[in-house]
Symmetry: D2
Subunit: 286 residues, 4 copies
């Protein structure tokens, strides 16, 4: 059985009349079948967002011609758009420090075929996760913060991202803060998992903060990194109920399960081109 | 400030190429702006579902002409469709027995302008809720199961629905089972709240069943009624965690809050034309 | 059938060896049956918290003698304790402004016998809720912020609390901030519902703040009021998932259901003596 | 720093007056400090359940003497009881078929020190998970259903449980049904994860059943196995919201995360002696 010849089209542009008609009319004229599509017009910013999954039909031309034709549709609407094969996997690099639960979870999903990405490399400022990563057959870059300092260490991380041509950097409990330059370079291409329900408990030791405040529900947040720490566009969040019997340590244990699930979802949404950035927020077509 | 001249269009038909293009192209050609739209092609049944909210523009013709023109678009695709004013409220009749929490909740939302329906009447086989209903200025039809039997009582209920020209009957903890004939007559127009997480615990005393089984989570389910009791298309569900300390009575108390929320959501979704029936299931465009 | 002669005993004291033995041994010696009991030793503060529900037996002495005897048990442990009849209802006063959903919800629960409190009065700085409250047969005190200013208006509110001998003041979407003096006077006796998932979005317009931040889950928080606004001990929280399609207004609508449920739970927990304050946090024996 | 000399005491017996007093008085008399304790009297069965965690003090006798003395306290109340060291880890055997997510999750938690068990062996009717298990340094018993049939294969599984002296068998997506004899032998010592929100969708292919029924929430259930398939005492459940866009395959993907979390919790509760069986239900002291 051959794979369907399927593509994902994503679009962002100013909202106006006739946008859906232009896109869907184009696909019909190209003899393409729309498998899935979703769109959203944000009335507060008058921006339009769309994601469509379509399959080329027997009478369709090749994808290069389709792209070329679509650029003529897109131009008058000032669309920013992408058209990628459904079968092209996002190349990702994962950064981790000492806590390996998110890494282990991502690698298991990847190995079991549940996460449509290629894991190009894992980078860490500790050597603890080497065995796990190498058992999966993935290169492990141990890059401690040495005498040359954090800037040098970050440079090495970015070099791995560049050399692997990774499209996405996943900070899977990576305990180093990226510089504003790195954040700018990786804008919309770097996902962090923060172990609190943002905007509560930004910064260090969020579970201790949650314990001290006595909240009755804790959470985890996956977001794109920006120069303002823990302020980037939120992709997904999850929460769990806790009570007075939870110590800070047991909040950590509850939180790990949230971190796993939320980060894996965010990576999947990104890889499936379901996330479109809308200023400091996101549109997520689930 | 005048209200926007806004309409809701809902469509169900066999899935094929060009459907979104046909609808959105039509709306563009009519100078209508799409405020919201969502569509879904069910690959398991090859049925297509769509809901669009649009606003007539300065250059649009009147709505009667738009409807007439759309019927020509709809015909070749064998669309079942509706185009109703955003401002037209669904007329509903509520049936209740002795437990008034769902009724009170619906009436409060309605009175506070949070539920875009007109409550035409309340029907009950008990007289307990008369004062509450009449305080809201709504006619109360007390119709006990008398010597003439249940059929006669149901006939009276249906008469109220007909005479008020209600579009929807809401069974808000109404403890009488409708006859298959009534279910057929009200297909897709009668919403029931069942006090369990269906398909668990169908039939009578679901909280007692949940207690006996020792479940750790309970739920409530809003569904369209069908001749097969508690088997109708599910519109929404909600759940809450419980534990061994909950008696059957305290499950009832927890469940009431679920019932309120789930029934109110289902009625709102229905009133806003967000629910399309898909065989024994529903498509809900939230 | 006579009611069981049942009492609720709550205790807070420094943690040490033999506390549970002292209390449970006392109850056994008094021929009392323990229906429910829960205790918690906080290792971070070394404080002990206990709640026991017990029923006097055929051989028990009267409750006055039991209390007197228990004071001799309590003294060496420096216990702060209360022993109240299970059947004594908490007298409460409810304060409300223009949004009536929490008020309506509390009154319905009370009327239906689901909330073991006596509602002594409702106070408001608006007249909107008079009809609802009076339909329930409860005195309504309309006390707008007049030329005499907010201090005078607060004085009137506190007068109602005093004259009704209310044990608890419930701020059910009351949009006036209490003075530090009032908070001190009502310490542990005033519950507020804040319409966000604290500590996120303190202060004004939390749903707008949540919308602006683009969170994927919103919440509501019931807490005891303190002089530090929105910083008081949290009693309960609840959350609901939202997405990019929610406007600030639709977040408000989703949040209302959370506010209802969370506030009603907090009032019930308080009325059933399930909440013990632990510094800036709470112990809640559910 | 030496470990605290800490023990877990669990008790089940008929409910009567003086039980808590007897146990807590005993511990005080033995100079033991109660770190945690919880108890529950089930009014529907008049059974009493208790779990206490205590630390031997400087003046306490040795644990053998404490146990011996406690048996004299326990006898008149007909208590079934256990007193085990807090530091003794439960030995477990994990059975798996082809889906490795629960296995991977349990092994990661174990390796990271988050699950206080000793994994003695993994048994499978497939060879797929060998590499993962052996990387963790755990014996892998590949035992396919051969010509000798299922009875023979089950015998091998039980032999591993016996020879490893495992206290608990965890069915981590093990697709073979245990015989009634095996269930009887392992009563209260075998935990299964069922991939539905029981009692909905018992038996085979629950996600397909959920898809066919069109439920809006799916779940997973961890329970002790009994001869009646999927009817054993429920230990924990979890749920997640889904909608019409989920295919049966995507329900499977959502469900995997639920299965991981629920099974891990159930194993942890069991290992920490938090679960007491109450007829066909459980008491879980969280």
């Amino acid at each position: 059985m051959t794979k369907p010849d399927r593509y994902i089209l994503t679009i962002t542009c100013p909202d106006t009349i006739g946008l859906v008609a232009a896109v869907s009319g184009f696909l019909r004229d190209q003899s393409c079948f729309i498998d899935e599509s979703a769109q959203f017009g944000d009335p507060s910013t008058m921006r339009f967002f769309m994601r469509a999954v379509f399959t080329r039909g027997a009478n369709s031309t090749d994808i290069t011609s389709i792209k070329s034709a679509f650029s003529r549709v897109a131009h008058p609407f000032a669309m920013q758009w992408q058209m990628v094969s459904w079968h092209d996997k996002s190349r990702i690099v994962i950064a981790v420090s000492k806590f390996g639960h998110c890494l282990n979870d991502l690698l298991h999903r990847w190995k079991a075929g549940q996460l449509a990405v290629d894991v190009a490399a894992v980078v860490s400022n500790h050597d603890d996760m080497r065995s796990l990563v190498e058992w999966h057959g993935i290169p492990y870059h141990f890059s401690p913060v040495g005498p040359a300092g954090k800037a040098e260490q970050e440079r090495k991380l970015l070099t791995v991202v560049e050399q692997t041509e990774a499209e996405l950097l996943v900070l899977a409990r990576y305990m180093q803060v990226l510089s504003p330059e790195a954040c700018a370079k990786l804008a919309g291409r770097c996902i962090n998992i923060h172990h609190s329900f943002l905007p509560s408990f930004k910064g260090a030791r969020p579970y201790q903060q949650a314990f001290d405040r006595g909240v009755k529900i804790i959470g985890a947040t996956a977001h794109y990194t920006t120069a303002n720490l823990d302020e980037g566009p939120i992709i997904d969040q999850a929460v769990e109920r806790v009570d007075h019997t939870h110590s800070a340590a047991s909040l950590v244990a509850v939180g790990r399960d949230l971190e796993n699930v939320v980060l894996a979802r965010a990576v999947r949404y990104h890889a499936e081109r379901r996330v479109l950035v809308n200023g400091s927020k996101t549109v997520v077509f689930k």
